[in-house]
């Protein structure tokens, strides 16, 4: 599909570096799917859907900064929803969110909770102010918090909170790759799903830029089961824009 025009209807500041952009249209996706957000004249970048009609963006570079210049009434181009989202399981699920990795997990939490699935969330960030969607996770179930500086919850990494994972029917994780790798090493791979970040060019499963071993993050993912990742390059290296291997 070509990009469709999405007008920004509201901009919500989630943290000092993270904003949610709401649009005048929904991209009716399953939690975990993403879109390619085209900031015209600048770049097109992958973004998880944090609501049916919104993306939640951390300002990290040129395109995200350009996006931060936009306001209500401005518009961007959107291709999507793309990829495969989380595979929802019944029972009691555990969500592990690091930083802006909360974006695809919050709609999953809401979705699951409204269907009677029990949800527990481990929410981590650098500092108290950088916690994303705390309220949304709290409305969906229990929330345990970790901050690097101890400004809220436990001081340290969210991965340190992982315990008793046998207790959960499924674990859903999104955050920096190093954090996700630590999670993967601590749990039963077959019981966990991870939403990956890789350099995305086409988003259509064709160019191969996003490939992690044989898996296309844009098409076969971005959500993969722990088992698929276990013996892969996940957590070891990724590819840069040129396709060169870069240490994670």
């Amino acid at each position: 599909m070509k990009p469709v025009n999405a007008e920004i209807t509201e901009v919500v500041s989630e943290t000092p570096t993270i904003r949610t952009f709401f649009f005048d249209r929904s991209f009716g996706s399953e939690p975990g799917q993403f879109v390619m957000a085209w900031i015209r004249g600048v770049d097109e970048i992958p973004m998880a859907l944090s609501y049916n009609n919104a993306i939640t963006v951390q300002k990290v570079g040129s395109a995200t900064s350009a996006l931060f210049e936009l306001d209500k009434g401005d518009s961007i181009g959107i291709r999507g929803p793309l990829g495969k989202g989380f595979d929802r399981k019944p029972g009691h699920i555990l969500l592990i969110a690091g930083g802006v990795g909360a974006a695809p997990l919050a709609p999953l939490a809401e979705n699951a909770a409204s269907d009677g699935i029990k949800v527990t969330t481990l929410l981590g960030a650098r500092t108290k102010e950088e916690l994303v969607f705390k309220k949304r996770f709290e409305r969906a179930g229990d929330v345990i918090i970790a901050t690097d500086d101890g400004s809220e919850g436990i001081k340290g990494y969210v991965t340190q909170l992982i315990d008793n994972t046998e207790y959960f029917s499924q674990i859903y994780c999104c955050g920096p790759e190093i954090m996700m790798k630590k999670v993967l090493d601590k749990i039963l791979p077959s019981k966990a799903q991870f939403s990956l970040h890789r350099y995305i060019k086409c988003g259509l499963g064709i160019c191969g830029a996003c490939c992690m071993d044989g898996l296309r993050v844009c098409m076969d993912g971005p959500v993969f089961s722990g088992e698929a990742l276990k013996k892969s390059e996940f957590g070891i290296y990724r590819r840069n824009e040129c396709g060169e291997r870069v240490k994670v």
Binding site: L204, G208, C211, G214, E233
Partner: protein, 296 residues
């Protein structure tokens, strides 16, 4: 029943992965081999690492895709390991290479080990030339010749359809010593976002691939088959077994498949079984249909 020898290389079937599609990493090429490809052409590799054009670099249009990746690649210096990984699949790996002049090409071909080279002469940045290298017969002949001198494996030359007369380019490749030509690369094209007026691609324009270009590619293959003595490899818009058959009837000895992989990673298996079924129903073999349209 689908196996063949193509420029001396044994292929279990005439269906290869096209250049630039899931061809940057050894892992992704291996996966394509596992899903039934008879051969693997890598992403086009250049002299230096290149990040390519800015996004959007690909977009779906009515009947195909438009792309302007800008030849992102890790350079040949970082690429042998990917080829070696891909080779573990047991399927021939053809290194696609590009450059801005004959020297670039020979430098890469002299350093890389693969089962064949495919010269992508569609690079728009010919050193000292305005247009694509592949539109100038003399340059194509020269580059082919130079690579043939350093390479001890077959050399294929991939042609652009964006020329007045593709036969003259094919003849130049043949004169330069090419073992085969590959046709076609993408067709020059563009799309504009009407909500904003912006060209959609970061590079403003790009190349059309997919279903839309199949009839264009068929005609190029047909013409090249008539003009040349070396084999023609067909590519452009193949998405099912009927398309593959059509190319072979037009005069392609083998084909490459690109865009169709997006929606159907299993396309190689499906095409090879579809072809086998068709051929046995018709009581034909590959040789019977090869170039058939020319004999009717």
């Amino acid at each position: 029943m689908l196996s063949l020898k193509l420029t001396g290389i044994h292929l279990k079937n005439p269906l290869m992965l096209a250049a630039g599609i899931m061809g940057t990493t050894g892992g992704s090429m291996k996966r394509i081999a596992q899903s039934g490809a008879g051969g693997l052409v890598t992403k086009s590799i250049g002299v230096e690492p290149k990040s390519g054009h800015g996004n959007p670099s690909m977009v779906e249009v009515d009947c195909g895709y438009l792309n302007a990746m800008g030849l992102p690649n890790p350079s040949y210096k970082n690429f042998q390991q990917e080829i070696d990984t891909a080779k573990e699949s047991g399927v021939p790996v053809i290194a696609s290479i590009f450059g801005g002049c004959a020297l670039d090409f020979s430098q890469i071909a002299g350093a890389i080990h693969a089962d064949a080279f495919e010269l992508n002469v569609s690079c728009p940045h010919a050193h000292g030339y305005g247009a694509e290298i592949g539109t100038a017969p003399a340059l194509v002949e020269d580059i082919t010749h130079v690579v043939k001198n350093v390479a001890d494996v077959p050399v294929w030359v991939k042609l652009t359809p964006n020329v007045t007369n593709i036969k003259s380019i094919g003849l130049a490749a043949q004169k330069g010593g090419a073992d085969a030509v590959v046709a076609i690369n993408t067709v020059r094209a563009m799309a504009i976002d009407i909500d904003s007026g912006y060209p959609i691609l970061g590079n403003r324009f790009g190349g059309l691939s997919g279903r839309a270009i199949k009839p264009v590619a068929i005609k190029c293959v047909y013409d090249l088959y008539e003009a040349l003595d070396i084999p023609v490899i067909g590519v452009g818009g193949i998405s099912d077994w009927k398309d593959a058959i059509e190319f072979i009837m037009a005069g392609a000895q083998a084909v490459e498949i690109g865009s169709a992989i997006g929606n159907n990673i299993n396309v190689f298996n499906e095409i090879s079984s579809g072809m086998e079924k068709f051929l046995s129903e018709k009581e034909w073999d590959l040789e019977d249909i090869y170039g058939m349209a020319h004999r009717l």
